[in-house]
Each structure stands twice: as structure tokens, then as C-alpha cells.
Symmetry: C2
Subunit: 196 residues, 2 copies
Amino acid sequence: MATASRAKGMEETRAKLIAAARRAFAAEGYAAASMDALTAAAGVTRGALYHNFGDKKGLMAAVVAQVDGEMAMKAQQVGATVDDPWGSFLAEGLAYIELALDPEIQRIVLLDGPAVLGDPSQWPSQSACLEETRRVVSDLMETGVLKPIDVEATARLLSGAALNAALWVAASEEPEETLPKAVEAFTSLASGFLKT
Amino acid sequence: MATASRAKGMEETRAKLIAAARRAFAAEGYAAASMDALTAAAGVTRGALYHNFGDKKGLMAAVVAQVDGEMAMKAQQVGATVDDPWGSFLAEGLAYIELALDPEIQRIVLLDGPAVLGDPSQWPSQSACLEETRRVVSDLMETGVLKPIDVEATARLLSGAALNAALWVAASEEPEETLPKAVEAFTSLASGFLKT
DNA sequence: TCAGCTGACATACGGTTCGTATGTGGGTAT
DNA sequence: ATACCCACATACGAACCGTATGTCAGCTGA
């Protein structure tokens, strides 16, 4: 048997801590979230936390990785529903915008994440959204849909614009009314990369 | 005489605190910066700080406002050197990118700022860069250079893309080499808003 | 001129937080 | 059966933020 099987509930403890942290970080913000309260809500003590994640920042990294992964998965699902490559790409971008309307994602990934973990492009999860965007952009360039510009740069700017648009929509007083504006602007923006 | 003249060195105290905070926040980050050390470096005690700025967040807001103002001023100066309206606009965008290469600006405005003060578009300084961008975009639309899309949305996305590009360039290992890529991508991106 | 008041700033303290160092109980290998 | 290991609990120390209280300079009005 593998050595990891020693503790039956190890993975379960980690999962419970991440879930509790996700709620606490989203509700109170990273800085204001107390490790005591957090671990108590998870049904363990701080000992378990520091054993599994090292420190508060380590727990945050695990939470961000989980949320990031979920975002990428959802966006990819949306993109897969469209056949046209360019349309599929646009759909993914718009999916990011809508995903980022979730207050939990805003607080954890967009606001606290950079401050705690540094520049998102340096995260292990590679800001999974970005990874997916880069992949699609690369394909679109090979098929001649997009201008042959640096892939990384293109992905970074588009991703940045999308997330920023989401933050704007979410902070506005009437999200339902500003969302279409953001969508239209994003579409125009992205079309700047189209060939000819 | 105005009541504010009561204390001769009031403005001076504020300036010294802001200057010290700017150094500390840039070097250690907002969370790690100690108010004790900060005020000592400024030559005053924590009493002066809480009297002038209310709390730690208040001091951060003052610092961000100052940095933000300087950014807007510099970008505007650069934009003024170009006559062609569209060229001037592009120049300002690129100026933002280069400005954000400063580690101080990255740490204070791009990383810690949003976490501490919330969404940048809600700041009193209105992320001064954004204000300037909005003004220029509005002009370009009236003169028919840009497609008639929502001004706010356009400004937000462009500003977001620029700042994100800067973060990317700064975090890269060879900024001098990635900067041209970012510039090219930003130019293409912005051209998506051009008419026809 | 002078008593009184206001406001800027210093100082001492309490409450809370994070990270570590030490203790413990159950499973494992031999 | 014995010694060991590891996940986790618990107790402790250091640091920090914000506030409550104290002090002193300068304006005000008579």
C-alpha cells in the first residue's frame, strides 16, 4: 500500500479545510479571515491546517487553485458548444466575464489573489483560464483566423480585458444593464486580432 | 485665517507619512508593513497617523491617490506630444504599460490596491488613468475615429488590458524583450475599436 | 494681557492574530 | 509484541492594530 494511505482521512481533512477557507475568504476577505474560526468551522484545529498547508498563504494557494480549475472547466464547456472556431473563442471569453460575476470569484481570485500570491500569471494553476485561452489562440493563429502575433501576449491581453470587464460589470449598480455593453466592447476588442 | 492654519506643520506631517508609507508599502507590501516602523521612519508616532488618516486603510487610500495622480499626469504628458488623435491615444496606452513597469506601482496600485480598497473603478481617484482614457475615447468617438460603443466599457477594457500587459511584462524574465510584444498586441487590440 | 479652549500629537494598553514547539493516540512494520 | 511514524491537538510567545488617555502649543475673546 502507498505510504499516503496511512491516514484514512487525510484527503478529507484537506477538502474540509479548503471548503471552509473558501467560504471564509469569500465572505470576509483573506486578511480578515481568522484561522481559528476557519478551522473550527471545518471541525479541526489549527494544528491540522499548518500540517497540511504550511501557512495561511498555502491554504489560500490551494483555494485559488481549486476555484481557478473550476473556472477553466466551465469556460471550456461553454466553448465546446460552439462549432465555429472564432465563435467558440468569443464564447469562452464571454463565459469568463460571466463567471467572474460571482462575488466569490471576485473576492478570492481577482482582489485578494494577486495581493497574496503575486502576479496571476506566475501561479501554479497558471490562472487556468489563461492556459486555456493561450491554447485556443494558438489554434486560431495556425488556421489563419488571427493575425500572427505573439500568442502569450494575445492571451494575456484578452484575459485581462475579460476579467476587468467582469469586475466592472459586477461593481456596477445594474449588472443586467451593463453586461451587454461589456459583451459588445469585448467583441469589438477581440476583433482587433482578426486577420485583414 | 482659515481654521486649518492652526497647525503649521499639518500638511508637512501628512506628506512625510505618505512618503514613508509609499516606501514601506512598495518594499514590504501593505499587509507586512508595520505602522510602528512606518511612523518611526517618518519621524512621528502612531498618534499622528491615526489623527490624520483614521486607520491603515485610510493611509493606503492617500498613497494610492498620490501614485494614481502621478500616473495620469505622466501619461497625459506623453499623449500631448502626439498630434494625431488616434496616435495620441495609442501613445497614452503604451505610456500606461511602461509606467506600470515600476515595481512600486505594481505592488501598491495593481496588487495590494484592489485587495485593500476594492475595485479600482470605485476609487475616489477613479483610477485616474481610467478617467483620462475615458475622456480621450469620448473625443475619438465624437470625431468618428472609433466605433460608437459605450465609452465606459471601452475605456475599462482598454485600461484593463494595458495594466495587465504591464504586469506581464514586468513579471517576465526579460522585460526588454517582451515589451515590444506587449506593445504590438495592445496596438492590435485597440485597433478593434477603429471604425470600418 | 490673560484665562480658557481647541486641536495636533505622544504614549500606554487591550484584544486578537499568526506561527511554532511540544504532546498524544492510533496504525504499521518487523 | 515492540518500536516507530505520522496526522493532528494544544499551549505558548511575539507582533500588530486600534483606542483611550495625557500633554502642550497656539488661537480667541474680553
